[in-house]
């Protein structure tokens, strides 16, 4: 893969993950991750909007005046969100009811706005699209992980109600982890989402620290010579 795109991909999925590193879009992240299906639904919606808005913003980046760029981005994002909302109403109405207000609220998701402003408005179309896609996938992965954690802890199941998204055949995808689970309400409530999110971030930091250690270990053998860039300011 082209090294630039590779970097964008890695950034979106890991190094600059919107949820784990930038801590953007926490509101929907914490509110709707009660189950895997919710997470997937919101993840897909967000990703589509991200890709669409990045594409559009990047296309028009030379035409948009600097002073009013944010309102314009909001308009673009809002247009995509409206489209998604209508699509979800048409295709997955039940899920739309569950996700409720959080679909229209994608407009205010800082992750999308942030990418539009920080990346798409300064980069060519292919890079912007890849960035949108990767950021969206990175966000969705965190959503799904958190959803799985909370669903497993809170209700003792995984992939329940998948038919809301994938049709009747998906009804049988449900995995019951514990029979007659009493339910751990805390995990299903927003505080549980906070704790879960904290644990995910901690896990990422732990992995990063270990990686860094390994890199430093391998690097410690080679030292690069110090090139002086000093300027003499006096005679």
């Amino acid at each position: 893969m082209n090294p630039e795109l590779r970097k964008i991909t890695l950034d979106g999925l890991w190094h600059n993950n919107p949820a784990l590193v930038q801590l953007l879009g926490l509101c929907p992240l914490l509110a709707v991750t009660g189950s895997v299906v919710n997470a997937i639904g919101l993840g897909i919606a967000t990703t589509v909007v991200l890709v669409g808005s990045n594409l559009t913003v990047s296309l028009f980046r030379h035409q948009v005046p600097e002073a009013v760029r944010l309102p314009i981005f909001v308009m673009i994002i809002a247009a995509f969100v409206t489209a998604i909302e209508l699509l979800m109403q048409a295709l997955t109405y039940e899920l739309f009811l569950i996700l409720g207000i959080f679909i229209p609220l994608i407009v205010t998701n800082c992750a999308i706005m942030g990418r539009a402003d920080a990346f798409a408005s300064r980069n060519p179309v292919p890079a912007a699209v890849v960035d949108g896609l990767m950021m969206g996938i990175g966000f969705s992965i965190v959503l799904i992980l958190l959803g799985a954690m909370r669903e497993a802890l809170g209700a003792g199941t995984l992939f329940s109600n998948m038919h809301l998204l994938f049709g009747e055949t998906a009804r049988s995808w449900q995995i019951t982890l514990v029979e007659n689970y009493r339910g751990f309400l805390f995990a299903a409530l927003p505080p549980g989402a906070f704790v879960g999110m904290g644990l995910l971030i901690a896990l990422k930091n732990l992995i990063d620290a270990k990686l860094k250690q390994r890199i430093e270990k391998s690097k410690s053998t080679q030292t690069d010579p110090v090139a002086s860039k000093r300027v003499r300011i006096t005679g």
């Binding site: 009493r182 339910g183 751990f184 309400l185 805390f186 409530l189 505080p191 704790v195 904290g198």
Partner: protein, 352 residues
């Protein structure tokens, strides 16, 4: 000759943290005895469970954090947390309730925040709140004190029976006779009755309330002992109880048929425990004397508000957690006036 070079002072009072913790443990003894007396073996079993699991979690956390295990285990802080938790939950709650509780208290509320001295919230109360939210059924089913179900202590479950109830799930045969709501719950969900009617018609109040009064008295004893031994100061408990008394008197005087009387608010539920053992937890509460008073007032008022208009019958844990959140802020605005300064400093200072 090996002379050592140290900063002054060169002497110190033998007053170690573990001694403080030991005194706190000692002060919980009356409450433990009272609970056992009125409700049977349950509390003792819960206490053993909580202590064992808390120490275990503490040791694991210390090990993971690469801290000296024995050095920190000896300070007794985990034990205090465990005991307060064990005495706060219903005596016959299933065993996993208390284990999840001590996991939450030690691992999440304490060590994830940096261990002893760094936790912004009271660990026992975090655990209690989590349990209450997650397992409302288990956490609100108190068994009836013996004064309600029989003439003497023999009416309570025996020790093996108690073990069975706690470890092998609910023994339906026994539980029917045992479970009941707490007085605060009865007053909360009174179904249209006036306060007076509730008092007359519900046995937990008419006959059994003395058990709760007795337990509160035991907590009070422990608290007075702690104040006497200068482990805690009077400020926070006094402020908290006074404000609770004041608020409940006001509302009771205004509308006695809809509000509970002040003695119920003070003598029933977790008020006394909270005042002397939780609102005085140095780590998570305000520090200066004036700060402690503000903190106590906040807790007392919140308890009354949540009990009366909130959705939970008892509110000590939530009130404490909310005020824990405010403690640093209180601290910044209640600095004492330093020697030689006209006015006390306000705010955190130094920030941009």
């Amino acid at each position: 000759m090996a002379l050592i070079h140290l900063s002054s002072p060169h002497v110190s009072k033998a007053n170690a943290t573990d001694r403080v913790m030991r005194l706190v443990l000692l002060a919980t003894l009356p409450a433990l005895l009272a609970l056992t007396f009125f409700f049977g073996w349950g509390s003792l079993i819960q206490l053993c469970l909580a202590a064992t699991s808390a120490l275990l979690f503490e040791a694991v956390c210390l090990r993971l954090r690469k801290r000296p295990i024995l050095f920190f285990l000896r300070d007794g802080s985990a034990l205090v947390t465990a005991i307060l938790l064990a005495l706060a939950i219903p005596p016959f709650a299933p065993w996993w309730v208390v284990v999840i509780g001590s996991f939450t208290a030690i691992v999440i509320a304490k060590h994830l925040y940096g261990g002893l001295g760094n936790n912004p919230f009271n660990p026992a109360m975090v655990a209690y709140a989590l349990l209450l939210i997650s397992f409302p059924v288990e956490m609100t089913q108190w068994n009836a004190p013996f004064v309600l179900i029989g003439d003497s202590w023999k009416a309570l479950a025996s020790f093996p029976e108690s073990l069975m109830i706690i470890f092998s799930g609910v023994n339906h045969h026994l539980i029917d006779a045992y479970t009941g709501a707490t007085p605060l719950e009865v007053l909360k969900h009174r179904g249209g009755m006036t306060t007076e009617e509730v008092w007359r018609n519900v046995p937990v109040l008419s006959d059994g309330v003395f058990a709760w009064y007795g337990i509160s008295a035991a907590w009070l004893m422990g608290g007075v002992f702690l104040i006497y031994r200068k482990v805690i100061t009077w400020h926070a408990p006094f402020a908290m109880i006074s404000i609770l008394f004041l608020l409940s008197s006001l509302f009771y005087a205004g509308d006695p048929s809809n509000f509970a009387d002040p003695f119920v608010h003070i003598g029933v539920g977790a008020t006394m425990m909270c005042a002397f053992f939780i609102a005085t937890d140095p780590v998570s509460c305000a520090t200066s004397n004036r700060g402690k008073i503000v903190f106590g007032i906040g807790v007392g008022a919140l308890i009354y508000i949540i009990r009366t208009w909130g959705s939970f019958p008892d509110a000590a844990a939530f009130a404490i957690l909310l005020m824990n959140l405010a403690a640093p802020f209180i601290d910044h605005y209640t600095q004492p006036r330093s020697y030689g300064h006209r006015r006390a400093n306000r705010g955190i200072g130094g920030g941009r």
